[in-house]
C-alpha cells in the first residue's frame, strides 16, 4: 500500500511520526489508566449485586433500583422485579450511554484508547479513518437523547440525597450524606454543562435578540461548558467514591461518621 498521511507523496519527506519533544504521551496515558480503572471498578460493582444499600443510602450505581432490590432500596417500585441479574444493569445504559456519547469523553477515548490521534501532530497508527460517519460511531449523534435521560437520573439522585437526610428516628447527617450531596452537585454541574444542553437552551437559535431569556440561559450554560471536562472527571470520581463508601458501610468494613 502506498504511504499515506505525513509520508504521502508530495509532502515534505521527514519520516518521523512526530518531532514533538515534550511528553505528549503523558495525558493520553493518564486518561487510559484512570478510565480503565473506573471501568473495571464499575463493571465489578454493577455485577456484584450486593452491598449497594445501607439505610438511608443507596449507591448511585443502583439508583433507581428497579429490579430485585434489597429491602428499603426501591423508592420507585420494582417493575423489573423478576430480572435475574443485578438491578444496576437495568439502568446502567443511561449513564453509560450518556458518558460514552459525551463530546468530552469522545475526545478522551478517541485519543487515549483509539489513538486517533494520540496527541496533536502525532501520527495515528490506523491506515483508514472514517470518523463518526458510520455505525457504530454515528450513533454518537444521539447524545441529546441520553442527555434527556441524564436529567431524569440527576433528579432521582437528588431525591436520594434528600432521603439520606432522614432515618426512621428522624433527621440525620452523616459522612455518607455529604458524600452523596457532593456527588449530586458534581453530577448536576456535569449534566448542565453538556454541549447538547448548551444547544438546547439557546445555541440552536439564529436570533439571540428575539429570545432574551434563552440567550441569558445560554450565556450561563456557556460559562459552565468551558469547564465541562473538569466536571466530567470530578463526577466520575465522586460517583465511584460514593459507591465505594456505601459498599464499605454495607459490608461492615467501616462504620458511619455521624454528625447529628
Amino acid at each position: 500500500m502506498a504511504a499515506t498521511g505525513v509520508d504521502a507523496p508530495g509532502r515534505a519527506a521527514i519520516g518521523a511520526r512526530t518531532l514533538r519533544t515534550d511528553r505528549w504521551w503523558l495525558s493520553p496515558l493518564t486518561t487510559f489508566v484512570v478510565f480503565s480503572a473506573f471501568v473495571v471498578y464499575a463493571t465489578w460493582r454493577a455485577f456484584a449485586d450486593k452491598d449497594y444499600f445501607v439505610e438511608p443510602y443507596l449507591s448511585p450505581f443502583y439508583s433507581p433500583c428497579l429490579g430485585d432490590c434489597v429491602k428499603g432500596s426501591a423508592d420507585f417500585g420494582t417493575p423489573f422485579g423478576g430480572f435475574p441479574l443485578s438491578a444496576a444493569l437495568i439502568i446502567l445504559i443511561f449513564p453509560l450511554g450518556f458518558r460514552m456519547s459525551c463530546y468530552y469523553y469522545r475526545k478522551a477515548y478517541y485519543r487515549a484508547f483509539w489513538l486517533s490521534p494520540p496527541a496533536c501532530a502525532v501520527a495515528e497508527p490506523h491506515t483508514k479513518y472514517t470518523g463518526e460517519t458510520r455505525l457504530p460511531l454515528i450513533l454518537n449523534n444521539l447524545h441529546r437523547w441520553f442527555w434527556y435521560a441524564a436529567v431524569v437520573v440527576a433528579l432521582i439522585l437528588t431525591w436520594d440525597v434528600l432521603l439520606s437526610f432522614q432515618e426512621a428516628d428522624g433527621g440525620h447527617v452523616g459522612l455518607g450524606t455529604l458524600v452523596l450531596l457532593t456527588n449530586v452537585v458534581l453530577i448536576w454541574l456535569y449534566t448542565l454543562s453538556c454541549h447538547s444542553c448548551r444547544h438546547a437552551v439557546g445555541g440552536r437559535l439564529r436570533h439571540f435578540s428575539k429570545h432574551p431569556v434563552r440567550y441569558r440561559m445560554w450565556t450561563w450554560v456557556s460559562r459552565l461548558n468551558t469547564r465541562h471536562s473538569l466536571y466530567a472527571w470530578l463526577s466520575l470520581f465522586s460517583v465511584a467514591i460514593a459507591d465505594l463508601y456505601i459498599m464499605l458501610l454495607a459490608n461492615g468494613t467501616i462504620s458511619e461518621a455521624r454528625f447529628f
Binding site: 499515506t4 498521511g5 515534505a12 490521534p117 496533536c120 495515528e124 479513518y129 440552536r204 436570533h207 439571540f208
Partner: protein, 258 residues
Amino acid sequence: MTYQLKMRVWRGDDSGGSLQDFAVEVSEGEVVLDAIHRLQATQAGDLAVRWNCKAGKCGSCSAEVNGKPRLMCMTRLSDFDPAETITVTPMRTFPVIRDLVTDVSFNYEKARELPGVELGPRDADGKRRMMQVDVERGQEFRKCIECFLCQNTCHVVRDHEENKPAFAGPRFFLRYAELDMHPLDTHDRRALAQDAAGIGMCNITKCCTEVCPENIKITDNAIIPMKERVADRKFDPLVWLGAKIGIRHKDDEGRTEM
C-alpha cells in the same frame, strides 16, 4: 545577551529533503522567524520561507517548531532552553514546494466549495438590521487569520491523504457555523455540512483548537454547535416528526436548504 542557537531545519522539495543542522547567533527576545531570517542572511541564502507581517496577523509563516504547528513569528526563543536544538519543518499536511514553503491551495479549493452568504430582502427603508447580540456572536470566528495551522494539524487529513476530497476542515466548519448562526442568511447549510463538508469525519479531538494562534475555540464554539445543528436536522426524531406534520422551528423560517 546573544547566544549560538542550534537549529535543525528541513531543506528540500517534493523530490526529497532532509533535516540540516545549523548554528545561528540570536539574542534574547527574538522569535523563531528572526533566527530563520538570520540563517537566510548569513548561511543559507536560498532558504525558502514565507512571511509577511511578523506580527501574527497575516497567517503566512505557519510551520512546525519542535513538531508543534505554530506561527514562526509568534514563537519566542525565550520559551526554549538556550542549549536546546530547535527543529523547524514545513507544515506536514500540504504538498511541499521548497524548504519551509508549502502549497496551501487545498484550503482555497475548500473555500470555493462553501456557498457564500445569501441575504434576504431589505427592510422597508432599504436597510438591513441586526441586533448587537447577534452581531457579537460571530465575532470570535472573524478573528481567523487563515494561517491554516488548524487544517494542517487535523488528523483527518494530516494522517489520511485520501480524506482530503471529502473533508472541508476546521477552518471551514468555523465558516459553516458562522453563517448558520447568522440571522440574515437565507441558506440552510446543515445538510451540506454533513454531506459535502464531511463534518461527521471530525471526531472532536480538539487539535485544531489547541493550535489556533487566535485562540478561537473552534471545536467548542463552531464544530460542536454545528454538529448539534446537523443532529437537529438529521438525527432528532422529534424535529423530524414536527416537520412531517408541518410544525417547523420558527427560528428557521425563510431558509432554504442547500
